[in-house]
Symmetry: C2
């Protein structure tokens, strides 16, 4: 019995089993990844227990992914060389139902030129061979191929959100000037440097076809995506080793911000596409720059606004009584910042990054203690799972992807290019920054920053999302190799390089800037002290102004901490009264003073004596805050509450005030 | 310029913008649902604060979904009546690129018979109209249609897992006989009763076409899926009102287990498909029964084994030192039980349910205090989000689905059928059970059980997954109406019905069975007492044996509590020694005795005096446990640790021992 269109008959008679087979195959696909992750969790435990630092968990995920991909590939090939006809090399396929093989299998005849090949195929979404193993594996290597939607919509957002939420605000803002410089200027330099080197290489014509395929536009795309450095691997080590906090803040801040910049840069370059074939178009270039500014600030705006709305909702309602509701709202709003940015045509990843920073700075102050912990733990777990998933996925990709385009010369040259590009990014910019900074960036830090330029998920995701055509596939393969090599080699050697460069580890942060910021928050600093303190803090004029505005107006407006909205905006009358949360009253009762919670954030725990004396002295100074409590019991209460909320890392800190 | 295949050109030249438009549309789709959820969270908060119980959160989600669906439908229609050509009514579509509209738009000509219609369409995955609003909305009502993969792979697993994990084990196991009776026998009775009534109705020929379309097979499918009762709504209320615990356990246990039974029953009935056109096939019927047993026990086996493996891993490693790793492992393994059951051709939902019960009973004992909390909070949040997502989705479905088949008579009759089916299920079975039970199921409980038979996510999911052909679409529409009506009507009237039936609320559980189980766990009960105690407990012979085996062998084998593996399996030598966790030693030191943690679970907090005296008397009785501590300091320690770990609900409990 020969049928023209087998599916027609299948769907009517066997739709039920058909759906069942499809469900089964999907399940097996995910089991492979989940088992990889379980294996990964167990190995990480062993490594942590035995204090092995040669390889980091992301490196492990990558390796496991590569091995699993290889196995899937080999097993798949060893059973049969015939792939699904969709991919296939055959020019005619005939389906044939035979009665003994119904309902699951159909005989299939591939006609390719004069040769014929018969195979018994089980049907699912695609037609597959009858041996269960092959059914699974053929489908598997197909299903395990990159799905940009899963990557961008499910895996990346929690990683980026957690990076922003877990940001050590203090150090980030202290080094904000340098970080922005490296992120904006550095990434652009790096992108153009890589592009120039790769273009020159392609022009030499050493590998066939590259000269025609790689116009400068494609090189610049490659330069932009490969300039996104990955924060995960190196920083996990830094964090364990207690590396100098400023180096940490520099590398962390740079890699987080530079992901954002690289993504926007990449998309801006893409918008140059209509002009790509001309030699140089000023209009195109300007529209590119415009696109960059629009996308970046658009995403920034949406992320920040969503964060502030969440802060407002949590401030003005008593959602804090129901931690599940509060946590859910927080999660939903954070994710919606990603979606809103995407929907508005901006960049979701950048939106969610700034949303995370806003949530950490404002909303988290309004959350109940339980929700604060829940939110952190929830995103910590999601981040861990997503991160390992992503790197396993990248590892799997090496062998399960069918479209690789290997160009050995191009790959070797690209390693040279990224090394040089990071060189002309880190060193000149550091030199420039050192002219103005009180705290110079020492040469060994610069070397470490150069070495710590790993490439990871973002670079891969950008390359894989736009992988149509041969040049893009060359870029994809090259990026994959760079990610594998840098995560495994640079990641593993971080400890060694730290030792070689004699960078201090196991040190604790200093409390100097904290103290200054704190004094500022307490409004105890007159204009006469400003200049001296500003110099001491290492903050620029801008950062300083931002801090002042933030603590005088934004914190009172969006949180239940700091001074009240009524005090901060006396000219707003009833609006300000409405904006003053009723929860403030509760907290006041239990803590004695509004400003205490700001103190909690900035003063190390050994400093409690200082707080108490500070608070006493403060009650003698006339100030705008409402009620001052000076008796000992209340102070004791405050001290306790501080000791409970200050994170462990501060516990061994030495007091170091000028 | 007219092109044959517009996509060919698009993909090469404008692939980048194409991908961008698609991403944008996907984002907007999800924003609708996320905003619905945010609205939902805020409304729930208001309702909770004002103690409004007329409508439950699932009802709210449903309503919001319905309203949003209506708006999307109306706005979509008001801009243009032309739908995407895929769905369309046209018989020929011509695409036309005009230069001024490139690169985003193409002119499209629909030819339908003699009438022609021109439209400018933007392209994305499907072709869409040029007005942005319509682009979004047309795509939206398409995108918002039911996607069984998301439902089954992402939304249902956390809901079912949490139901199993949060199960009040004690009451569940005390009523296990009744629960299994209602689940297995009751669901089967209900399915056949519904099927019979619907079949009779269809045979009357009152609505055209039903007589031919609804053979008994289709009616039985409907009966099976509509017999899955939903635990969410009623139980949330029960829990708030502190309804009689046995009623709670009965309804909760029944609805959880009966979901499992209904799903398996549904799939077994599907396996009868090849014989459906014959009058009755004994072979088909037997294979159906075989299929039922295989699927149920297969899923049960996989779920339980995965749970036990997790217990073993957490017992034998020190993953507890790293809560993130432990939580991740727990989550991954739990989800893999779902996938493994699906991959093996069984039922994932049933697998993950039993995995959850196993995890709660064994694995959770091995987790560190922090992980225990993390796991619970993680799944609580996921459950909350998934549940509201699911009900919003169901609400949206009412207006966004294009394939509804309304048969008013069928719908009315189906309400009658489910009412009668639940009647012939609850009352006769209760009567039968009352013959044997010490604690009878009172008539008012039976009435409450009858009224509490809401239909929810599972019924809808089963109906929506298999919705090919007119009869299945009639079933889908009818199920949707039943879900909406029961959740909104029965859900809202629960409080009223409780009052009408004069069922006690605000009561606390009794400690009688706890005490007995506890004595059992302590191995203090000789065979002579067995019969009397067993009668008192209300446990059957089977349940009793299970408890004995569990506490004598399984708890020591799989957890770090109870007696050691060495004590429990003295004949296993080195294997038993290897199976004895090193963590036991730590816990022993800090608590003084292994058995304490079992006590913690079963003895109410006011009972601490009893524990102390009990423990004293125990030290005089020779037993197999190793070390007994009788001094006061240690007892005090134990008392404290118990007071810290016993949940709040026990705090006001009265001691009631016979």
């Amino acid at each position: 019995m020969l049928l023209g269109n087998p599916y027609e008959d299948i769907e009517e008679n066997e739709g039920d089993t058909h759906a069942k087979v499809a469900k089964r195959v999907t399940s097996i696909t995910y089991i492979v990844i989940i088992l990889l992750l379980v294996l990964n969790v167990c190995t990480i435990w062993i490594f942590k227990q035995k204090r092995i630092r040669y390889i980091h968990e992301t490196g492990l995920s990558l390796l496991y992914g590569v091995v699993a991909g290889l196995i899937i590939k080999l097993v798949g090939v060893s059973i049969s060389e015939v792939r699904s006809p969709r991919i296939g090399t055959c020019d005619k396929v005939t389906y044939n139902f035979s009665e003994e093989t119904l309902p699951y299998y159909i005989t299939t005849e591939f006609t390719n030129g004069s040769s014929k090949l018969k195979r018994l195929y089980a049907y699912s979404d695609t037609l597959m061979n009858n041996e269960t193993a092959l059914v699974v594996i053929n489908k598997l290597s197909e299903a395990l191929q990159f799905d940009p939607e899963i990557f961008f919509y499910i895996l990346l957002p929690p990683i980026i959100f957690f990076a922003g939420y877990d940001l050590k605000k203090k150090h980030f803002f202290r080094n904000i000037g340098s970080i922005l410089m490296f992120a904006f200027v550095g990434t652009t330099i790096s992108a153009f440097a890589v592009a120039a080197i790769m273009w020159l290489y392609c022009q030499t014509g050493m590998e066939a076809g590259l000269k025609e395929e790689f116009i400068f536009f494609e090189c610049l795309l490659f330069g932009a995506l490969i300039s996104a450095t990955d924060p995960v691997t190196v920083l996990a080590l830094f964090s364990e080793l207690n590396v100098d906090v400023d180096l940490y803040a520099l590398i962390f801040g740079e890699s987080v911000m530079n992901d954002a910049v690289a993504i926007v840069l990449f998309e801006s370059v893409l918008s140059y596409a209509p002009y790509r074939n001309a030699s140089f178009s000023a209009v195109g270039f300007l529209s590119c720059v415009g696109q960059f500014c629009l996308t970046f600030f658009g995403s920034f705006f949406i992320g920040t606004v969503v964060g502030l709305i969440t802060a407002m909702i949590t401030k003005l309602t008593r959602l804090c009584d129901f931690p599940v509701l509060e946590t859910s709202l927080f999660t939903l709003m954070s994710y919606s910042s990603f979606l809103l940015s995407e929907a508005a045509g901006f960049t979701g990843i950048v939106g969610i990054l700034f949303c995370a920073i806003t949530q950490a700075h404002y909303t988290s102050r309004n959350l109940s203690v339980e929700s604060k912990q829940r939110v952190f733990e929830l995103f910590e777990t999601l981040n861990f799972l997503a991160e390992n998933f992503v790197f396993s996925y990248i590892g799997l990709f090496l062998f399960t992807y069918d479209g690789h385009e290997w160009r050995p010369g191009f790959i070797v040259c690209s390693f040279l290019a990224i090394a040089v590009a990071r060189l002309v990014n880190v060193f000149p910019l550091s030199g420039l920054l050192n002219l103005n900074l009180r705290q110079k960036i020492p040469c060994k830090f610069q070397l470490m920053m150069w070495w710590a330029g790993l490439r990871g998920a973002i670079a891969f995701a950008l390359a894989a999302e736009y992988s149509e055509g041969v040049p893009r596939r060359i870029i994809l393969t090259t990026t994959l190799v760079i990610v594998l090599a840098t995560v495994l080699i640079n990641g593993s050697t971080t400890t060694t390089v730290l030792e070689l460069l004699r960078i201090r580890v196991g040190i604790v942060e200093d409390a100097e800037t904290d103290h200054i910021i704190n004094q500022l928050a307490q409004k105890q600093i007159g204009d006469e002290d400003l200049h001296r303190l500003q110099e001491q803090s290492g903050l620029g004029e801008m950062g300083w102004r931002f801090l002042k505005t933030d603590y005088s107006y934004l914190v009172p407006l969006f949180t239940i901490e700091g001074s009240t909205a009524e005090d901060a905006f006396p000219w707003c009358g009833p609006v300000a009264r409405w904006l003053t949360s009723e929860r403030r009253a509760d907290r006041q009762e239990s803590l004695g003073d509004d400003d205490v919670s700001i103190l909690e954030e900035y003063i190390p725990v050994e400093d409690t004596e200082a707080i108490i004396s500070h608070r006493r002295s403060k009650s003698e100074i006339p100030s705008s805050s409402k009620q001052h409590v000076t008796n000992n019991t209340r102070d004791q209460h405050v001290t306790n509450s501080i000791q409970n909320t200050v994170p462990n890392s501060y516990q061994n800190e030495e007091l170091n005030m000028e």
